[in-house]
Amino acid sequence: MSLGRIFWIFFRAGLAFGGGLGILAVLEREVVTRRHIVTREEFLTTYALGRIVPTGTMTAVAVGIGHRLGGFGGTVAALLGLTLPAFVSTVGLTAAYRQLQDTRGFALLSVTLLPAALSLVVAAAVNLARSAIDRRPEMVLAVAALIASLLFHVNPAIILLASGLGGALLLGPPTSA
């Protein structure tokens, strides 16, 4: 895949609102649902590996998918596309700090773009869950991970490693399910 195309896909994801999850939602639509570049399982595995890397998850996912699509150049194109919109708008708004601090525009975002962005996140979560939903062990692990994260605030990296080890000990290849 051409570097320009990789840049474009990640630039679209980088325009997403709602932080890492918003980006995940757009990426899922672009590379899994629409273009079928990676399968749902590969996407989720990349996401899981990305969460283990000690930096922002989507940064690591961009490196992982960028590399698969276009080697080292692909990682640079993906990272540039992903971070450019955030960098330009963040620095621009910081430069305008004093002027913007008290305007009503900030308050309006909470009833406009942020909830709309959240809907994309939920839609992507449901879509990704389909790959796990028809297999009981994965469902159990998903619910356990949800509870561990939400109620007990267990570190996500620990949840992933524990779930992976549990899977390695108790589960075979997906075909046996």
Binding site: L44, T83, A95
Partner: protein, 173 residues
């Protein structure tokens, strides 16, 4: 404080928190606001808010802090400091690919996938708690869900049309 020291702090805190923005804030506050006194609490919160309301990764607030302290070079280097560790993904992915066919690894993958789904839902719920706080935001959320799943609109329309309706509602109410 020098630019090198700031970049060092960002690298360290980013690795300690696995790039989790909200967790990094108390660490930055401790060292930049209380410790060295180079930033005010308001400036730190502004940087954090700006990163949340702008598109893209939420950890882009480190660019905002870099800009406040050292201008454009500060912004660029701080942004780079949270991107570069992403390359650890390459050896991880490579090693994973080598082992993939082993039986234990395919079990491990199934475990990872299950936990990923759970974690994505957990993060969505936390995000909803933070942003669905008014009736207006709920209306926009539901409209956008319908646009994304039932009507299957493209991403830009899903964001813009419900947002515009939310804007009109907030002007009327």
């Amino acid at each position: 404080m020098t630019l090198g020291q700031l970049v060092g702090l960002v690298l360290l805190f980013n690795a300690m928190t696995f790039g989790n923005g909200p967790v990094m804030i108390p660490l930055l506050r401790e060292s930049l606001v209380s410790g060295r006194g180079v930033l005010t609490t308001d400036e730190l919160l502004y940087a954090f808010t700006v990163a949340r309301i702008t598109p893209g990764p939420a950890n882009s607030y480190v660019a905002s802090i870099g800009y406040m302290l050292f201008g454009l070079p500060g912004a660029a280097l701080c942004a780079l400091a949270v991107v570069v560790p992403g390359y650890l993904m390459l050896p991880l992915q490579y090693g994973y690919g080598l082992l993939r066919s082993a039986r234990a690894v395919s079990g491990f993958t199934r475990g990872l996938i299950g936990a990923s789904v759970g974690l994505i839902f957990a993060a969505s719920i936390e995000m909803a708690r933070g942003s669905l706080t008014t009736p207006g935001s709920w209306i926009v959320f539901v409209l956008a869900i319908v646009a994304a799943t039932v009507l299957r609109w493209n991403t830009l329309l899903v964001l813009l049309v419900p947002s515009a309706i939310g804007l009109m509602l907030s002007a009327l109410l």
